[in-house]
Subunit: 146 residues, 2 copies
DNA sequence: CTCGAATCGTTCAAAGTGTGAATGATATGA
DNA sequence: TCATATCATTCACACTTTGAACGATTCGAG
């Protein structure tokens, strides 16, 4: 009736590859005292589309309380500044510091290096199509698509 | 110095896509009382390469104690049988029951459906290259490649 | 203007998932 | 035969994240 192997589905391969790649990325981030979610938050700030903690939470698909602790740690590292919005003093506005921008650049660099290692086993054509396909999938799944 | 966006890296896209896809798959599995790891265990058994719990743990990259609880639950559902290896009574040999095989087929079907939904936004050529590229990446990263 | 309702951030307890150390049973080899 | 290694199991714990309070602030209907 159905003899497709689970392990050969896109679902399974995206899941397992995503997990191992994230783990490897995470390991490199550890050297800077960061976890993937910290970097995700920095990236949201850099994009500039949003700044209040609640908006960030929605964009990152996490609980607002998680953004609090992420912001706490990033603030302690001097990567972000936290200020009350003068027009609405309930809101905390997060902004990247120069240090935070530098930190994000370092982490992006690590991701780019990992990218190169991954793409190394692909033909240039395969690598190009992989990027194209992942971009299309990201677009249609509410994920950032620059 | 480096103005590549983090969100446009393979690392980021594989990570986030892998997470959302896994989440969607997980939601469909819930209807059958299973989680992705249960299905992973069933798939390992179906492959037939290995059967003792410790071997399974190594293959799945999880702690042996986790295999115990996964096997407990699958056994309770009647999906696997657990027998002491007569040649080495320390080993527990897990085998798929007919019911387990059926369950795995149902879950694989769910994955195939999700695959189709995902590939829907891609051109046939893109979808093909995506599969090729993911297979190559799986091969070079110690993941199952059928 | 005022007061009830809504919003934002924060804290905190708790759920979910997974690991590692200790234990008992069995096997292996000197 | 006995010390050592291996397998499964249990259990306490770590980690990550969530959701339910709560206080502070804003908004809007009357």
């Amino acid at each position: 009736m159905n003899d497709v192997k689970l392990t050969s589905t896109l679902v399974f391969r995206l899941g397992t590859l995503g997990a191992t790649v994230s783990e490897r990325f995470s390991a490199r981030l550890a050297a800077h005292g960061l976890k993937p979610k910290h970097v995700g938050l920095l990236a949201v700030l850099e994009s500039g589309v949003v700044a209040s903690q609640l908006d960030i939470a929605k964009l990152m698909n996490v609980a607002p309380s998680l953004v609090v602790s992420l912001a706490d740690q990033l603030e302690e590292q001097g990567a972000v500044r936290r200020e009350r919005d003068p027009h609405d003093r309930r809101r905390q506005v997060l902004t990247l510091t120069a240090e935070g921008r530098e930190l994000l650049a370092v982490c992006t660099e690590a991701a780019v290096e990992l990218d190169a290692e991954l793409a190394d086993v692909l033909t240039p054509k395969e690598a190009g199509m992989l990027r194209t396909a992942l971009l299309a999938l990201a677009r249609h799944n509410g994920l950032p698509a620059d």
